[in-house]
């Protein structure tokens, strides 16, 4: 009997101690904030990781977990997670409008909502649902502009002058071929395999993307002109089929390996490559960003960028957003990654001595005011990815001979119509 009482007491003491330990652990547990982040290699991952470490050290009540994932995970895994009601608290996203039904409004949890309006004003609408003009979901971590680069060293070796502002796509193709022939470079022109990249030039050729009601209407004479030009360049050898042919569907593919090996004269990509080129090309050759080539309608690239957007709204998420979007942190981040800020009033001290990088930053920053309104509208449209993907998958098929350009254009419109029906019903 004594033994039984003793055991009972011991169990009671153990239970009380365990409960107290549990209660104290719960009371002092930090709130986890999970960020899903894709970065363009260490040049972006290292600075953000350092900022997160600094935040965690200064805020013991919040534990920010940075999950660095491939870009594919952001494009393909994140939407599935969100649809299943899972997903991170914050993610770095490029399909800004496409995921808007999952964004959380963090307005009550940020210190100063007007800071977001003042600093990121035009971009906030890119994240909002149609009709919403007030919610704050996050901020633009970097802004991007699409545009071309040239291998300046190859131009100098060939004795061919670079073209200036106002030069057309046909003129750039002609000089690229000339340089390639004179220097024995295998690929005159290479483009990122992306409908977004095709869209700036297509708008320059007159593409409108929307009908008079503002609904998507993909194929028109402008889009036909640009896609036909791309098709012809592939057939003529101005662009190599090896690049766009190495994947299928709407899969993104960049020609960086060819470019870094100096096998490309002219590369159509965008401002996000600056830091990468500065690291990877180094002194191997001079690379120069050039103004967006012109068509009959405009001389424009496409705006874009990536934003850190919240999928959960709570005080911890608000605090993390405030910290990462602050002028100090954003300026430090942009200065290290050599990007164009999405912040409207940010002084950036770029940490590079590379004249190519400095020139490219100036060129792309200077291109922002010249971006055509159609390009801004397209970038802001919630279903722009549907149009981008239809362009690139069908154009890719036409280039390798699976269909004619006429069939490809018909299919592009059908693809958009089919996807919109699936999404919105009807």
């Amino acid at each position: 009997m004594m033994n039984f009482k003793f055991i009972l007491k011991a169990i009671s003491v153990a239970l009380v101690s365990f409960s107290l330990t549990l209660i104290s652990a719960v009371s002092f547990a930090a709130t986890d904030v999970r960020i899903m982040w894709y970065g363009d290699g260490d040049k972006e991952n290292v600075p953000i990781a350092a900022q997160i470490d600094e935040f965690n050290a200064a805020n013991p009540d919040i534990n920010v977990i940075l999950d660095i994932v491939p870009y594919d995970a952001i494009m393909n895994t994140l939407p599935i997670q969100l649809a299943a009601g899972e997903g991170p608290d914050i993610a770095r996203v490029t399909d800004l409008g496409g995921l808007n039904k999952y964004y959380a409004d963090i307005t009550p949890y940020v210190a100063d909502p007007s800071y977001y309006e003042k600093s990121f004003g035009p971009f906030l609408n890119w994240y909002r649902k149609p009709g919403d003009t007030t919610s704050i979901h996050g901020f633009h971590s970097t802004m991007t502009v699409t545009g071309p680069y040239v291998n300046k060293t190859l131009f100098e070796q060939a004795g061919v002058d670079l073209l200036g502002p106002g030069a057309t796509w046909e003129e750039w193709a002609a000089v690229s071929i000339e340089v390639a022939e004179k220097t024995g470079t295998p690929i005159p022109m290479a483009w990122d395999r992306s409908g977004h990249r095709v869209s700036g030039p297509a708008i320059s050729m007159g593409a409108k993307y929307f009908d008079s009601n503002g609904d998507p209407k993909l194929v028109d004479d402008g889009l036909k002109a640009m896609t036909q030009m791309l098709y012809d360049w592939h057939q003529a050898g101005t662009m190599s089929k090896d690049l766009w042919g190495s994947v299928s569907g709407s899969k993104y593919h960049a020609p960086n390996d060819w470019w870094n090996a100096a096998e490309v004269v002219f590369m159509m990509s965008g401002s996000w490559q600056i830091g990468r080129f500065a690291n990877e090309v180094g002194d191997d050759f001079d690379w120069w960003a050039v103004p967006a080539p012109c068509g009959p309608a405009a001389c424009t690239g496409m705006p874009g960028g990536n934003a850190l957007l919240a999928f959960n709204a709570n005080p911890a998420v608000g605090k993390v957003m405030d910290y990462l979007s602050s002028k100090e942190q954003l300026s430090s981040f942009i200065g290290q990654v050599l990007a164009i800020p999405g912040h409207l009033d940010l002084q950036v001290d770029y940490q590079t001595d590379d004249p190519n990088a400095k020139h490219a930053l100036n060129t792309f920053a200077g291109a922002v005011p010249t971006i055509d309104q159609v390009a801004f509208d397209l970038q802001a449209h919630v279903d722009n990815r549907i149009m981008f993907n239809a362009i690139i998958s069908r154009l890719g098929q036409a280039i390798v001979g699976e269909m004619t350009m006429e069939e490809a254009w018909t299919r592009m419109d059908e693809d958009v119509e089919k996807q919109l029906k699936e999404k919105y019903g009807g």
Binding site: D242, G245, S246, V247, S248, G249, N389, V400, G401, Q419
Partner: protein, 320 residues
């Protein structure tokens, strides 16, 4: 009495000895149900729904829209006339891939097994070498061969060193399918060689001795003794390789991404892309589920064939 008996005795008393096997099967059945039957049922319901939401409550149900869309063709022989032309390109590519991959796989498996069955020097070593690729992950296989077959890869470097022109093995539509078939055979042949080898070793040696004593030629011995007695094994190889061929995805996805265009894109890639890898387009779970139901029917047919032939083989063995 064992501790487990404390649990099993009462259960046996309640349900009887004859029903006890079901209790032993229960753990497996639970896992099978959770990870196979329930997903299969969910997939079926997805195929009868539409919309871009993942949760059933938010999807339009029931509808045969996905099947209608999948089979909406002016001519099934021309994918360009089909609403879901990517699906039909996948179907034709899969048929082409399976016919050539399985045919060549059986040919090379038999050839290799016959050689490895002979008393050659380093027989054990070669048996391991041929089996080794089977142990590799498909992603590793894809990456290795990508490095070899790329335009700036190892194989083209050798061709160039002999004065030849580079070949676009992976990006020229006329080469790409041949390349993926070759890589797939390389990766899986070891497994099937092993099955054929087991079959060869089960052939009674006295049959060969008798044939030799009669002065039968080697070719005749092969076609009249080896091949007929190997036939049950070859049927198993044929069906297993066909099932595996229809399901092929990962190594091709790494190797060519289904390109150029859609020339190496098989059905499973269509399902994956439509449902899960739409890169910002609508993730059409319903259409992907419908396509996977169609694929499921094909696989069910092949599996039933395998069961039929393997049971036939067993009953013949019992008769002997």
């Amino acid at each position: 009495m064992h501790a487990i008996d404390l649990i099993m005795w009462p259960i046996q008393k309640i349900i009887g000895v004859r029903n006890m096997p079901y209790i032993f099967l229960l753990p497996n059945l639970i896992f099978f149900g959770l990870f196979v039957i329930i997903p299969l049922g969910a997939n079926f319901f997805f195929s009868l729904s539409s919309g871009d939401e993942l949760l059933f409550a938010e999807r339009e149900l029931p509808t045969t829209k996905q099947y209608d869309q999948l089979f909406d063709c002016e001519s099934y022989l021309n994918p360009n006339t089909c609403t879901e032309d990517f699906f039909w390109r996948g179907v034709y590519n899969t048929i082409f891939f399976v016919v050539f991959q399985v045919g060549l796989m059986i040919f090379f498996s038999v050839l290799t097994a016959v050689i490895l069955n002979k008393k050659i020097i380093g027989r054990g070593f070669f048996r391991s070498v041929f089996f080794f690729p089977v142990l590799l992950s498909p992603v590793v296989v894809g990456l290795i061969w990508q490095w070899i077959l790329l335009k700036n890869g190892a194989f083209n470097a050798i061709i160039e060193s002999y004065g030849g022109d580079k070949v676009s093995f992976l990006t020229d539509p006329s080469w790409a399918m041949a390349s993926v078939i070759f890589v797939s055979i390389w990766a899986h042949m070891g497994f099937y060689t092993l099955i054929v080898l087991a079959g060869l070793q089960a052939i009674p040696p006295n049959l060969y001795e008798a044939a030799e004593m009669d002065g039968t030629s080697r070719e005749r011995i092969f076609f009249r003794i080896t091949l007929p007695l190997l036939m049950p094994n070859l049927l198993v190889v044929f069906i297993l390789a066909s099932i595996k061929g229809v399901q092929t995805f990962d190594e091709i996805y790494v190797l060519t991404g289904g390109g150029p265009g859609t020339s190496t894109s098989l059905i499973v890639q269509y399902i994956f892309t439509t449902g899960f890898a739409s890169s910002g387009s609508v993730q059409n779970f319903g259409l992907a589920a419908a396509a996977s139901m169609v694929l499921g029917v094909v696989l069910l047919f092949l599996t039933l064939m395998q069961l039929y032939f393997s049971r036939n083989k067993e009953s013949k063995h019992q008769e002997i």
